[in-house]
């Protein structure tokens, strides 16, 4: 019985960990979508 419960928690933790990690990845990526990286943010005009 105890072994079954601990196994179940392990399985749940393993899935939960994956989901938490995915949430972190997505938070980083959606923040990135709002940033200016990729194009320099300053405007240069020397004329």
């Amino acid at each position: 019985m105890w072994e079954k419960i601990s196994q179940s928690i392990l399985v749940n933790n393993f899935v939960l960990r994956g989901l938490v990690l995915a949430a972190i990845f997505l938070a980083i990526i959606f923040t990135y979508l709002e940033t200016q990286e990729g194009n320099i943010s300053f405007v240069y005009n020397n004329f």
Partner: protein, 392 residues
């Protein structure tokens, strides 16, 4: 122990699968939203970074057959004859998309063309300035501020572009982007693709997943930015102007006369006061050593022409001369300037493209509004010639 490692790897796999799944669903949703906005007519002025340094909005213009006008700072000339007010007209009735800002020159324009193949009916004109050839090489800061990472990666992903051209662009970018942290990843990518030595090949293999992932994220970001822009931009009426070119020239002369009153160079008063009058003595012959044709811009221009050929563009090239009185004074003689115009015409003709030569107007009052930018009469003349060229 093994079980623990397997558990952590499993978590990572789940995280990756969920992330990729959510992003794919989001990308699909953006595609649907963009499809709904496909025919929304909006202003496509130059200087819009989402457009000029992105992919989606330029591809949209190519797909829809807009008239694409590529240039630099003259696109922002403060005259009513600015192309945004001349197009569409009775002879060229397509919506206009103006692309470019100061310092976006042949190298970056060539990369842009290499990233976005033309369609069968793409109509594109490009204004080339004499100032691009000053100083031996192009402006580093200016190039950095106009550089588009997504266009560069798309260019490098285009199988139609020969390896030598990719190496040429990468070698130039590796040098021009160096020292600027915001484009550090692209600079390293450029270095790794500038030649095929062992270290570069190895570096490319190791970093392939990173750059491929970054490219995919930039594509998603580009779609997201385009969606936001199209969603929020005001919808405009599509008005085709009916212009009497001769009558407009008379109006342009009158406008120029009104704006240029305090100098004999025929530049508008505010410009003369701000940029010329206080340095006038120092400017005499200060550019007499300028050769123009020694500039690396000449190789970049050849690169641009090659990219146009490879990606099926047939650009109409506008060779913008300059204010003759001003550059005579600074020591860039008519002879030096004409050598450049001759060279541009030779290279352009060799690729089978048409061009507009404006050297005859270097001493025409009000053709330029300042020392280098097309003005009241200049933009009208260029606009008329573009219209007639594509309206044939």
């Amino acid at each position: 122990m093994v079980r623990k490692i397997a558990s952590y790897l499993g978590s990572l796999l789940i995280a990756i699968l969920v992330t990729v799944g959510v992003l794919s669903a989001y990308s699909h949703w953006l595609d649907q939203q963009l499809a709904l906005l496909e025919h929304k007519r909006v202003v496509l002025d130059n200087g819009n970074r989402t457009k000029d340094q992105g992919l989606y909005l330029l591809q949209r213009s190519v797909r829809q057959g807009d008239f694409i006008l590529v240039g630099t700072s003259e696109l922002s000339s403060p005259v009513p004859q600015n192309p945004k007010n001349i197009f569409p007209n009775q002879e060229l009735s397509l919506p206009i998309n103006m692309v470019g800002r100061a310092y976006k020159q042949s190298l970056l324009d060539g990369i842009m063309l290499g990233a976005i193949p033309a369609s069968d009916n793409t109509k594109m004109a490009m204004v080339v300035s004499m100032q691009w050839f000053f100083g031996g090489d192009i402006d580093k800061k200016g190039t950095q501020s106009n550089f588009s990472e997504i266009q560069y990666y798309a260019f490098m992903h285009n199988d139609a572009i020969p390896t030598e051209s990719k190496q040429y662009a990468s070698e130039r970018l590796a040098k021009l982007l160096s020292g600027e942290g915001q484009v550090g990843a692209a600079c390293l990518y450029a270095k790794l693709h500038s030649s095929d030595n062992v270290i570069n090949v190895l570096g490319r293999s190791v970093l392939y997943p990173f750059y491929e992932g970054k490219y995919q994220l930039l594509l998603l970001k580009d779609k997201y930015n385009a969606y936001k822009f199209l969603r929020d931009a005001e919808e405009i009426d599509y008005e085709v102007k009916n212009l009497d070119w001769q009558q407009e020239q008379s109006k342009a002369t009158a406008m120029g006369k009104e704006k240029c009153t305090n100098n004999s160079l025929y530049v508008y008063d505010e410009y003369y006061d701000k940029y010329i009058v206080q340095d006038w003595e120092k400017l005499e012959d200060d550019m007499s050593k300028e050769k123009l044709l020694d500039s690396k811009e000449t190789d970049d221009y050849k690169f641009f022409l090659n990219m146009a050929v490879i990606n099926n563009y047939k650009p109409y090239m506008i060779f913008m001369s300059a204010n003759g009185w001003y550059y005579d004074y600074r020591g860039i003689t008519k002879n030096t300037r004409y050598k450049l115009y001759d060279w541009l015409e030779h290279e352009t003709t060799a690729k089978g493209f048409s061009y507009l030569d404006t050297r005859a107007y270097e001493y025409e009052p009000y053709f330029y509004c300042d020392v280098m930018h097309l003005g009241w009469k200049g933009w009208l003349y260029v606009g008329e010639n573009i219209s007639k060229h594509f309206g044939k």
